[in-house]
Symmetry: C2
Subunit: 210 residues, 2 copies
């Protein structure tokens, strides 16, 4: 068993189980059983359960946020070239679309998106603390882009609206092929393109509300 293989298998299993059951409710024995490795391998390769969580985040979030940042900068540059304000819709799309694209790229990515969504909205938890550390730079970039798009909007109102948007996005990330929001008969069968567009329409309208 190669070193890279063991680590990958642990990361894959952890990603899946953290997403499904949360950080605290996922035991290391469940992860190692799923990964078919020995329990002590977690400590050997990652040091601790928390460090494993950080590794899970880092593996996927750095590239995802890089994509988001590139998309955002593209929107801003295009607007500056044309001497106009960036469009809120383009900004929100730049942030949201890579999320859904990424989710569709492979099964593990779907679990990861679920884990992010879950971690954003869980107060005071280890996962959230770790996640926000990774998210802080991109959220800063996002709020600055929105300030350019909506310069007359009071800063606190803008940030609150962004906060609501993040809540809506995070909530949407929970859905997958197996999960449905039963009270509203919502199923995740909706194709991802129209779901993305619906969400972008919703948050754009909310950001621009007068």
């Amino acid at each position: 068993m190669s070193r890279l293989d063991t680590k990958q298998r642990i990361l894959d299993a952890a990603e899946q189980l953290f997403a499904r059951d949360g950080f605290h409710r996922t035991s290391l024995r469940a992860i190692t059983s799923k990964a078919k490795v020995n329990l002590a391998a977690v400590n050997y390769h990652f040091g601790s359960k928390k460090a494993l969580l950080e590794a899970v985040f880092e593996r996927r979030l750095l590239p995802l946020n890089r994509t988001r940042k590139e998309r955002l900068e593209e929107v801003l540059q295009n607007a500056r070239k044309r001497g106009v304000r960036p469009e809120v819709r383009d900004i929100m799309r730049a942030f949201i679309e890579p999320t859904f694209r990424f989710r569709e790229s492979e099964p593990g990515a779907q679990d990861f998106i679920k884990l992010i969504g879950r971690s954003i909205v869980t107060p005071d938890s280890t996962a959230k603390t770790v996640l926000l550390r990774f998210m802080k730079p991109i959220l800063k970039t996002l709020s600055e882009a929105l300030t350019e798009a909506l310069p007359e909007l009071p800063k606190d109102v803008l940030l609150w609206r962004l906060y609501f948007s993040i809540g809506a996005l995070a909530h949407t990330m929970h859905l997958d092929k197996r999960f449905q929001f039963e009270p509203l008969n919502l199923k995740a069968e909706t194709d991802v393109k129209s779901l993305t567009n619906m969400l972008i329409t919703f948050v754009t309208a909310g950001m621009e509300a007068s």
Copy 2:
């Protein structure tokens, strides 16, 4: 120690700790320690940890949902009397405002609102399952009211927008005097009236987006 006192103390402690740490991460020993009762009292009075959770929800959610339902029906009746469609804003206010009003009524209520917010957005967990059972009727009423307000909107789009709104509301429920969303420098010091209005404005615009 009277019977009502013990039960209340357990419920109060459970409410607070479930909100802070979640259902699974809160041990019965933590609850009973906080409530200053014996561990076996939980089993004696409630039967199981899960039944305690249900009792926590039931205690607060039934009156809260009753208020919401009354408010919704009032909006609908007023509109029907005037022979017009109900306003989306009025509908969302009828659903959201009692939540914030309730949160401000006492410290325990704030914990409870946090617990709801937390439970709505946690996939596949005991708390969510229990909560949605209580929420199903009011969500049905809400979606019906919105259908009256937005009769031309395709039903699935309406339901998705409602789902996004619930995500935004749930995310907002996490904030309290101690908690802030650090990446955006958001603090819960914003007065509740303007926060309520900001959220209602946001989701109303999102629901009405064209």
